[in-house]
């Protein structure tokens, strides 16, 4: 089945490629969709299949031009693919630039975008760029997107397609929002989507981790324009101010907490610690407040937060959460055994 469909897609691409005139839908159907019967049901099935195939070609980077077959009658649209818009422009890269591309290609840890980068690199390889991945002078930054809503919002942003989703602020009930996404921003370890909130009739920023459940795309691609002058990175800079870095003072067991020590602002050695099982050092680190708690937690019983108070209480609350979970599961086991 896969090869039938692949054959049809490739043949459709070849048929429309480098045509000086637009090709009529009828000719396309005759050449590649002959199996669809010439009746109402067949028409409908053909239309569906043709739409899907066009969408598949667009996903591959192909630009399909739609135009009129006859300048005097524009009732029947025609299609063609121009080499100008659909072929990758010839780009020559130096060896060091190719090496940098090879490293950047490994940056995305999110599955879909890692695949996207691979496809882009394959096109460059097709053009003769030799990607030498063997030398590694530097480590790619890790680009993560842990939020389940990321994929759908990335697609919608790229295609300029409106979306709806349920959004829940802490302590509130979730609300259904309608958004025309303009851009995605990663700041302080979190993803945000910026766009036009249709119901509020204004620009809004949403945190992806607060999106609940599915993000649904609505309407057509290219349905709206991003206002000229919209600067996604300026909005990002605003966000960075809103989630400021926190300076935290933590006590670290001697011989432990390597990651924290490595990027410490200050270290004060041999201080009084919470127990005598080891010596303790006082370490001051700076980082985004949201991530600091998770980072400190990974060190378990070798790091204690002194200040600020809200970081201290968040870490403690999450540790107690572990104990509650464990008690609950023991209780349910006991009641299960009693029955």
């Amino acid at each position: 089945m896969a090869s039938d469909k692949a054959e049809r897609l490739l043949n459709l691409y070849i048929m429309l490629l480098a045509q000086t005139r637009f090709v009529s839908k009828q000719d396309i159907r005759r050449a590649h969709y002959a199996e669809y019967a010439d009746n109402a049901r067949g028409d409908e099935a053909f239309e569906k299949a043709f739409e899907r195939d066009k969408e598949d070609l667009r996903e591959l980077g192909v630009v399909i031009e739609v135009g009129s077959l006859d300048p005097f009658f524009d009732d029947e649209p025609g299609y063609r693919i121009s080499t100008d818009t659909s072929a990758l422009p010839e780009i020559r890269f130096e060896a060091d630039e190719a090496a940098v591309l090879g490293i950047a290609a490994r940056a995305w840890e999110q599955a879909t975008l890692a695949r996207r980068t691979t496809e882009a690199m394959r096109k460059l390889a097709a053009q003769g760029v030799e990607l030498d991945a063997a030398r590694l002078d530097l480590v790619p930054p890790s680009l993560r997107a842990e939020e389940p809503a990321f994929d759908a919002l990335w697609e919608a942003t790229q295609k300029r397609r409106a979306v709806t989703f349920d959004y829940k602020r802490p302590g509130e009930e979730p609300h259904r929002r309608r958004l025309q996404p303009w851009g995605l921003v990663r700041s302080s370890g979190r993803w945000y989507v910026v766009g036009y909130d249709v119901d509020r009739a204004d620009e809004r920023v949403f945190r992806l981790s607060r999106v609940q459940g599915r993000v649904s795309a609505v309407g057509k691609a290219g349905a709206y324009d991003v206002p000229p002058g919209t600067d996604v990175s300026a909005i990002a800079a605003d966000l960075a101010r809103r989630t400021p870095d926190v300076e935290a003072t933590v006590l670290v067991r001697q011989g432990a907490g390597v990651g924290l020590r490595r990027r410490a602002d200050r270290v004060e050695e041999d201080v009084t610690g919470p127990d005598e099982e080891s010596g303790w050092d006082r370490v001051v680190v700076t980082g985004p407040g949201s991530d600091l708690a998770s980072e400190v937690l990974t060190y378990g019983e070798t790091v204690v937060v002194e200040a600020p108070e809200d970081l201290r209480s968040e870490v403690l609350a999450r540790l107690r959460g572990i104990l509650e979970q464990s008690e609950q599961s023991e209780q349910s086991e006991r009641s299960g055994a009693a029955r």
């Binding site: 897609l9 043949n11 691409y13 980077g61 780009i91 591309l101 996207r116 394959r122 302080s188 572990i322």
Partner: protein
């Protein structure tokens, strides 16, 4: 047709698109080279050779509409099946690769920008040049809608030093933190390569102290000094960097993830996933180091718990209890 077709519908559609993507890269690749060995083409395009063989059999069925044999693309099947050489003719109109799809361009450009932010100044210039060329070719527009604030990987500042020692064939002295035993050690190693595996970067080396092959996580190397001593032939043989890199036996652990921790399945290899109670997910993971698992569970606390084995669940709870005690038993403020 049968019901099986309905079920298989979605992946099949995707497979076809990906196959066409590979073919539209393969033909231009061949065009500039004439004939190419199947394995060479597969390596250059990052495709499995058997897959490429199957792809070529689809290409064989394609061409200009018209129905004459001359209209079809010609794939030399004898050469493909015999010498495993790819020869394609009659496909001049596919000589150029398809332009980047917006999403592909954006993914690549965002990665380059993040690299520019985290790299050393001389590398940053190379990244800028690369981005300028992509911009001149009109391939950076889609990325304007995405902005990423990148943070450098801990330990990445050591890479030039480590790579320099490898290039010059010198041994290294390392101050290393062994996370599972939570202790420091100083050791002399014969470095082989710096490699990224999963979400961490490692130095692969022969270790004099341990008397064997070892891998060192860069973010746990506290200090590295290049020695004048040349490496011996122990450092010579590069190891396969795929699976089997990390020796030792793994334990199958079942972890229950509440919804805020579901992302774990995207980042770490899980062998099985089942729905658990209350919207949670039960996932099976092959865990080589209990210390590693404990760190992961603590990072997402309290949204992950161990279901099986019982010993892991108990020791995780015990370490949380010990950590709580540090906050509550004393009055250190």
């Amino acid at each position: 047709m049968s019901a099986g077709r309905q079920d298989a519908d979605k992946p099949v559609v995707h497979a076809a698109r990906e196959q066409v993507a590979r073919l539209l890269a393969l033909v231009p690749f061949l065009h500039s080279r004439g004939e190419v060995r199947l394995t060479d083409a597969a390596a250059a395009l990052g495709v499995d050779p058997e897959q490429l063989d199957r792809d070529l059999r689809v290409l064989f069925m394609c061409g200009l509409p018209g129905g004459y044999p001359d209209d079809l693309i010609n794939v030399d099947l004898d050469a493909l099946e015999g010498e495993r050489i790819i020869r394609v003719a009659n496909a001049d109109y596919l000589a150029r690769p398809v332009s980047f799809a917006p999403s592909e361009a954006a993914a690549l450009v965002v990665a380059l920008k993040a690299l520019a932010e985290t790299a050393a100044p001389e590398t940053r210039d190379v990244v800028r040049r690369t981005l300028d060329k992509l911009a001149a070719a009109g391939q950076t527009v889609a990325a304007e809608r995405v902005h990423v604030e990148a943070t450098p990987e801990p330990g990445s500042e050591l890479v030039p030093l480590l790579q320099g020692a490898i290039d010059r064939g010198h041994q290294l002295e390392l101050d290393y933190h062994v996370a599972s035993r939570d202790e420091h050690s100083t050791r002399v190693v014969e470095p082989r390569a710096v490699t990224r595996v999963g979400d961490a970067t490692y130095l692969d080396a022969w270790c004099h102290t341990a008397g064997g092959d070892r891998v060192f996580r860069l973010d746990r190397i506290l200090r590295a000094t290049e020695l004048d001593t040349p490496v011996s032939d122990r450092a010579g043989h590069a190891r396969d960097l795929g699976s089997g890199w990390f020796e030792g036996s793994a334990t199958t652990v079942t972890v229950r993830l509440a919804p805020p921790a579901h992302w774990v399945t995207e980042y770490y290899p899980v062998t099985a996933t089942r729905p658990g109670p209350g919207g949670s997910l039960d996932v099976d993971m092959e865990v080589a180091s209990e210390a590693w698992l404990r760190q992961l569970l603590l990072r997402v606390a309290p949204h992950a718990t161990v279901v099986v084995p019982r010993e892991f669940a108990d020791s995780f709870t015990a370490s949380a209890r010990a950590a709580v005690r540090l906050y509550t038993d004393t009055d250190v403020r």
